[in-house]
Each structure stands twice: as C-alpha cells, then as structure tokens.
Symmetry: C2
Subunit: 318 residues, 2 copies
C-alpha cells in the first residue's frame, strides 16, 4: 500500500531533482523538504502551513475498504503532517476523482469519514470538487494550517546529544491502523507548548526512513536501541504468522503508515517529557529509542553490539 | 473535455448536496460556492484564498497533448479562479499521479510548463508530490492566494441596474486556447483597484452557465444582447466547418474553458472602465454584453426580441 514502491525508484529520484529548482518567492519559509510547506503571509508571529496528499484505490486502500475509513484516512494523513510541525489545521479542500461506475452512497460515506475527523480536529472542509478518473477512485486533499512561528517544529533542528522519542507502537499498520489512526495533533501541541522540541516528523515511510529525513535535514547521525523500539501487536502477529516475511522488529523499523510522531529534544528534558506525557496521554506510549550523534549515519544497538542500520540492507543484518 | 459531462448529472447534484453540510469553523468567510474558498486567518485587512483543481488525461487533455501545455493548463486554471476574486496568488502544491509506464522527460516538461506560468504570476511551487494512478496521468493543484478584504470580489454582489462585461472572446476553446490561455490576474487587479466591481467569476463552464452562478448567488436576473457577445475566431471556424454541430453564438454561450472574466459594475462606471481598459490592455477585448435585472431569470435579446435563455434548450431556440 506504499505508492512509491509501485514505480521505479530512479524515476522518482529524477522527479525529486526536478522539483528542487521550482519557482519561489518572498512568502516561502520552507518549500518541499519538510512535512508541510511553511509560508509567511505577513501575519506577525505566525506561519501558514500548506500540505497536499492523495490516496488512490488499489494503492492506498483496497476497493472493498469501508469508504468511511477511506475518507478518514485521506484527511487524517494530511492532519498528521500538520501535527509533525506542531501546527493547527484550519481548512481542507477535497478533490474526489470518481470512476465511471460509482455509487453516490459510497461518496457520501467518504465525506462522512472526512467530516468526523474534520470536526474532531476543528478543520473546515471548504470545498468539495468532483472530477472523473475512469478506472479508479482517487482522493486528493489540500490542507491549510497555521502555527506560532516560534513553535513551528522543523525536521532540521536535531542536535548532537538530543534524545529521540517516538509515540505509539510501530509496524503492521497495513492490517488495520492505516485506515483509522488518529493524527497526533493534540500530542504535538502539548509537546511544543511545554518543551523545546528540536526536530519532529510524522512516520509515514517507516521509522528508519523517516529518521533519516531528520538526520539529513539536521546534518547529524543517530543511534537507536533495538530493544527499545515499541513494536505493535499487529507487527508481532504478522511476524508469528509469517504474513509478510519480516521479523516484528524489521516491520517496526520499515513498515509505512504508522502516523506516529518521531521527535528529538535535549536530554535534560527527557524525564520531564515522559512524566508529563503519562499524565496527559495515559493511553498512548511514549518511548525513548535512542540519541542523536554528531557523526553522520544511522546505527542500531542490540545485544551483539552496534551496527550500521541500512533500511535496504537491514533485513540481511538481523 | 468537460469532466462533469462524463458522469450522470444527477449523481453530481447528489454530491453537491452532500457538500453543503460539511464541517466549518470561525476562519471561514466563504466556503464552497465561489471561485475560491475565502478564509480569515486573523491578518487585519486581508483574506486568504484557497483553491484546488485537477486535470485528468483523456478528460481535460489528450494523451498526445504537449506536456508543457498540460502543466501550464493545470496551474493556470487555479490562477484563473484567484483572478476571479481579484486575488494575488502566493503558493501552489502539485500532486502528479503517474501511470505505470511513464516517461520522466514528460514529467519534466509538465513542471516546465507550470514553472513558466508560476514565474509569470509570481507564484511559488512549494511542493511536488508524486503518486501512482496506473491507467492515466492526473494532476491536482492546490493554490493559496490572498486579497485585501475590501477588494475581494464575490459572485454574490451583482445589483439590479449593473452592466455586465466580459473580457476576451468566447467559444471554441477546445481547439487550442484551453491549453495556453493566460489567467486574467493583472486585469482583475486593475479592475478591483480602479472600480467598484460588484460581482465577478471566471468562465470555466461557459458564459450562460457561469452567468447563472452570479445570478443565483446575487439573487438577480440578467438580459444579454446576442449581437454583443464576443465570439472567438475558433468558434466561428468550428461553426463554418460544422466541427461540433453548434452555431458560433451557441458555442460562445455554452463552450467551457474560456477562462475569461465576467463581471458587473454600476452603469455609471461603464464608460470609464472601457476607456481605462483600452489604455491598459489594448490587445484584449472588453465587451459590455448586457445588464442585471431585479427580476430573476436569464434572457437574451436579438433582432427578433427578448426570450428566456436556457442553456439546455438554447440550441433549439436559435
């Protein structure tokens, strides 16, 4: 269900290069390269956050998926990106591209799913465009949010000596969670209000891949501790039943669509963030999984020692 | 090439009803129902404009269309909606959903086309997302703009006694213009800066259909003069060659994708707007095509008298 794997990776890299020289202007604080684009529209002390994301039938959801869940997922994915920058969602626009044969009741249920999550997080849905995509349903969402400029958390602020935290439990999202996860909007606000969060990202490509985004943006390295990785029950079950040919740990490191938060802060704040978290979010785990190093590279420590963690090569290593 | 015609109209009406009870919040000035959503983010004297639009291969452009033109069209359509509210475009996000077999060079050309129009109108492209749509290319653009709140022109401000103007020439866009039109951003600014424009819309569904949007939103009627309608050379040529089975006038009234501006202002300003326009935009026509009436309904006057103009029935009438 990860769209990028369906197309030759080199082609995506080529496109990624193309998008590095796109037109810019004086409004742009952060273009492509973080969870949302960040814009300064001139309002003192605030930035706008701007994000778009699409889900495609057969790629991000199956044809028989509950349309309420599909609507939920389409909007919640964008909300998760606003959360990753500690932002507040304002308004969403919805483009639904419908196959030739479609059921209006199915579309109503998609809007129902979006509306519930929109109300939950205070988002207005300010337009619903409908077009045609003859072979399959595609939903593209644009989301506008804002954030106090001093509270906006980027990927690029991680510092050597920081500790690395992750919310929730990882891996195996495809079994169920990817269709009904809750974006960590409230958790991200609480973190940014109460602590100096240095860097944050939402986990959409898998822990190892998304951590690399923070490391690359911040020009640092990291070491994570294998026994500390919070592995979901779904990932453990899939490993036991050999559903996907991965160990549970590999799933937790590499599965996409966890939509949890990964963040770093100064080690002096580690105990306080854990204590405060337990009081405020008793039903969600918060786990310290490692630390940020000055030396580049991503390492993993287990009972055998420390090794380089390569998202492609890791399967052979474990 | 008009997407809505590919799907049963009743189904679209049903969806349109669904989208009337979507979640809202205190930021929303105007939701679905105008060219853009209008938001008040708290910046004194300014509104944000928010718009999304998608083009689909085989629906909005042919598979053999020049990809530079396709990119141009995808972004220019959204810019035309910002123009319709006299807004300033700020930033765009691009989602390209690629078929299984695609050519990276083709994608580069799409970005080239978008970049040229973006630079022309000062828009930043702040993200380029790529996903998969196995059977055909789909491009979804989100555009953020802003406007001085007192200069924001809505569809709903037309008043009885207003005169009705249209820019450019109408009809036959499918022959060529739909792939290389220039959004009327500069013209709209000039109009809003120098005149009290009561209502405005960009022509995407055809003059008759889009004029009805103004009339419905403003709760007024209109009478247009048949001999005044500015008919494009393409529409005349198509009529002569019987390319589409329409008279040139019918094409000018009903063809989509003209992307011209239709606006109303007080009749006392009619001469001044025509004089000023000629000086500022000598290469683009501006035509007074009729007037706004208090009585509802859309009428057309020709040498035989005045009749109701029904967009579905008009073909039989002429």
């Amino acid at each position: 269900m990860r769209c990028r794997r369906c197309i030759n990776v080199n082609e995506f890299e080529l496109i990624s290069k193309l998008t590095k020289s796109l037109p810019t202007n004086a409004f742009v604080v952060e273009s492509a390269g973080d969870d949302c684009a960040v814009l300064d529209s001139g309002q003192p002390g605030r930035y706008l956050l701007f994000k778009t994301d699409a889900v495609v039938q057969g790629i991000h959801f199956d044809a028989d998926a509950d349309p309420v869940r599909v609507g939920h997922k389409a909007l919640a994915r964008c909300l998760s990106d606003i959360a990753a920058m500690a932002g507040r969602p304002i308004a969403a626009l919805v483009t639904i591209a419908l196959p030739k044969e479609f059921d209006a009741e199915y579309v109503r249920k998609i809007y129902d799913g979006m509306s519930v999550v929109a109300r939950e997080y205070g988002v207005a849905i300010v337009g619903g465009e409908t077009t045609t995509n003859p072979e399959r349903l595609l939903i593209s969402i644009s989301l506008l949010g804002d954030v106090a400029s001093e509270k906006c958390v980027r990927r690029s602020g991680a510092k050597a000596g920081d500790v690395l935290f992750v919310t929730g439990e990882l891996g195996g999202s495809i079994a169920e969670k990817h269709l009904h996860f809750q974006p960590r909007i409230r958790e991200a606000h609480w973190l940014a209000e109460n602590f100096d969060i240095h860097a944050m990202i939402d986990l959409s490509d898998g822990l190892a891949g998304d951590l690399r985004h923070i490391l690359n943006a911040s020009k640092v390295g990291a070491e994570i501790r294998s026994p500390s990785i919070p592995i979901s029950r779904a990932a453990k079950l899939q490993a036991r039943t050999k559903a996907n040919g991965k160990s549970a740990l590999i799933a937790a490191l590499s599965d996409g669509e966890d939509f949890e938060l990964l963040f770093t802060l100064a080690s002096k704040d580690a105990v306080a963030v854990l204590d405060g978290w337990k009081k405020n979010f008793p039903d969600t785990r918060l786990t310290c999984i490692g630390r940020i190093n000055a030396a580049p590279g991503l390492k993993i420590r287990d009972e055998h020692g420390v090794r380089e963690l390569n998202i492609h090569g890791y399967a052979h290593f474990s």
